[in-house]
Symmetry: C2
Subunit: 440 residues, 2 copies
């Protein structure tokens, strides 16, 4: 037998075919039973005699033979592509039996987050969950496609790193043979090294943060979409590249995920021809004027500030995306390029989407001596950075880069409440697959 995919059925009216898939639902009507059969390409109504249906139920996997029929006009389901046809079953075979489900799959969106994640292998099968990860796949693929079209080279960054470099405590330690190693907080050093060889590079990698608290915005392991660009004319080249990436991602999701957006009841955020760019200090001033909240001396925007400034950008520029630039030097890593006009601030930026940071970027220090000085100024030892420093010792062009958090991009596009919903297998303080019991 050759398996017919459900999406092919509208072209097979009158034909005898074999389908394989899962029972998405069962409705008994006297001597007749209706299944909604699901495969990776869609859902189809199947009609069969009750005596053929036995005790078959939701999530059972079956093989089913029959003839494709047109449904009577008034019985059509115009919500789905296969809603004008159905299969009249002549034979049913069981491929795999499901045990009783803890909940109906269609109720997945109503589950509490802990239950959603406790049963992830099951809830991943729900229509809404699959739609989220289909969109994530497209987001990542578009990041890759856009940068390849701009002549960026893709490499695979390592995740085991030798020293706790960028930030002290929020790093995971590994028992590494007879010594210790760490999980990289970002592919930063490696993408800079690669710029020395390939000029423009990107990587789809993992980043690890031992976040000591559980928030709706953090994961212990997340997908980072990292790009780095040599021979820039100006640090604004980096923002221009990010702008292209975001626009392309939004366009791609809109065009390729029409059905998924419908399922998730989501609309891709609006983007203006140009994304507004404002300095962090200006943003704080605007927030002060709008809310009387005086954070103008703070070295960073608070989560509330990020929401407020996005609200302002929407009202003022009709843009749900905004660049915040010129973060204070003290708040950025040692490799960030200070603004020559005011070295207390850096040539750096974040991108906020609907109230949340989705991207961070900036120009880097490319002069060896300046970088060594900064490593010392940040309280680190240059000898711990010997490998990384080689990239600068032997010449490095003016360069910079950016990193998008893939789950955050998806969360914000879809308006999800918690970042964990955008991670197939989220890891945090309290969970790796199942809940962790050994935590004190």
């Amino acid at each position: 037998m050759t398996r017919t995919l459900i999406k092919e059925t509208p072209q097979k009216i009158g034909e005898q075919i074999t389908l394989e898939g899962r029972i998405a639902s069962r409705r008994d009507h006297g001597s007749i039973v209706f299944f909604d059969l699901r495969d990776r390409t869609g859902i189809l109504q199947v009609v069969l005699q009750t005596n053929m249906a036995n005790d078959l139920k939701e999530e059972d996997i079956i093989l089913i033979e029959g003839v494709v029929k047109e449904r009577p006009a008034k019985m059509e389901n115009l919500e789905i592509e296969t809603g004008k046809v159905e299969l009249e079953a002549s034979k049913v075979g069981l491929i795999s039996k499901s045990q009783d489900l803890p909940f109906a799959l269609k109720d997945t969106p109503e589950l509490s987050l802990p239950v959603l994640l406790d049963f992830r292998p099951l809830t991943l099968r729900a229509e809404k969950t699959k739609a989220i990860f289909k969109i994530e796949e497209e987001v990542i693929d578009e990041f890759r496609k856009t940068l390849k079209s701009l002549d960026f080279f893709e490499f695979q960054a390592p995740s085991i790193v030798p020293t706790a470099t960028e930030g002290g405590s929020e790093i995971f330690k590994i028992d590494y043979y007879n010594t210790s190693a760490f999980l990289g907080q970002s592919p930063q050093f490696y993408k800079q090294i690669m710029v020395g060889a390939f000029e423009r590079v990107f990587t789809v990698a993992k980043a690890y943060r031992a976040e000591p608290s559980v928030t709706t915005r953090h994961l212990s392991e997340y997908i980072t979409l990292d790009g780095e660009m040599g021979f820039i004319n100006s640090w604004t080249d980096l923002m221009d590249t990010c702008e292209t990436i975001i626009k392309n991602i939004f366009k791609r999701v809109e065009l390729s995920c029409e059905n998924e957006l419908k399922i998730l009841d989501a609309i891709v955020p609006e983007i203006k021809k140009n994304i507004p760019r404002i300095r962090m200090r200006e943003a704080q001033q605007i927030i002060l004027e709008r809310t009387k909240r005086d954070n103008t001396k703070e070295p960073d925007l608070t989560p509330e500030d990020e929401k407020e400034i996005c609200q302002w950008a929407k009202e003022t520029y009709n843009s749900e995306v905004v660049f915040i630039t010129h973060y204070p030097t003290k708040k950025r890593p040692f490799y960030t390029m200070p603004d020559p006009e005011n070295p207390d601030y850096t040539l750096s930026f974040d991108i906020l989407l609907k109230g949340l940071e989705i991207t961070t970027g900036g120009q880097r220090i490319n002069d060896y001596n300046q970088l060594v000085e900064n490593i010392k100024k940040w309280g680190n030892k240059p000898e711990d950075f010997e490998f990384y420093l080689q990239a600068f010792k032997y010449g490095m062009p003016k360069e910079g880069g950016f990193a998008f958090g893939a789950e955050r991009v998806v969360k914000q596009i879809l308006g999800l409440e918690n970042l964990r919903e955008a991670s197939a297998f989220p890891r945090d303080m309290g969970r790796i697959d199942g809940r962790l019991s050994n935590n004190e």
Copy 2:
């Protein structure tokens, strides 16, 4: 100024342009100096007055203005695309100065492996090194492209895992908040879970093995190209899919990397219309007959056996690739499907390329009860696998999968001596970037 890329220069004869790049070499001829200038797109000869060249030397990054000229016919370099033109420089500016190099970049291929890796940020810039990673990029991209064309869904597998599952000791332990976690030895469980939702899935992920010895064939962190396929008719579907992947990869490298193959003096291995498939026991018998080495009772092929059977396949089928099938049940993980005709052996396979395993795969047990029984039989506790087992508890189609080691594929295509040469930043017992000193 607008930067002209070196590959564009043959179309700019007579034009005034600006180039940015690195000095690949310097040759002084009296009052004239020749640079080979390198950017990400190629190499160009630049002619300048000695007084303009100052102390500029290899790896310095410069900006250079001038006019593109045709080279006299006898001075053409037909080895490179830009060999018929040169730049007559009128102005030179320094972008970044390199310190003295520990060796000339062109001597990189002669370095010992430890030195090659100690200076990785520098040696990555060598033509031969870049060619290796360009090929690696194409291999990974073709894996992705092939599986997408076969309707596989791409997901991002997590690397932090809760338990030491597949193999006991060769696993890295992580301090995870107040408990322990591990680095995944493969995305196996996650891709199987994803099959439950998406039927056909793949992931480009990292796998981690705490290999207690240093060999030319192992890395502590490597790139795994993992696919998993539900609703198979037969386990041979998996081999067919692998065959398509390999053929496509070979074709892609041949077509897209002509220049890189020339640089590396490599020829893509031959592949027959069909890759031969032989059982492990048959292979051992053949080896016995050819070498008088009797390993016919061994549960696996030794590295020497793998070389010998590849030699045999080349002589017999003119194929540098061979499938070895039906590995003993005891040597495979608990989830491997036993051969119903002889349950001491499994429906599993390896692919050997020029003497080395590059792929492993097989059909999996998809029946919940059988899987639980096997977990016990392998000495594990089913409760440790509760999360994974959900995927089977709630119905799982007949399925299986495969994993390609990306670095191994590249190593074997190119005939590299050591797997580390095919890893940009190899990690092993003795090295993470630099050499580890704390090892006892």
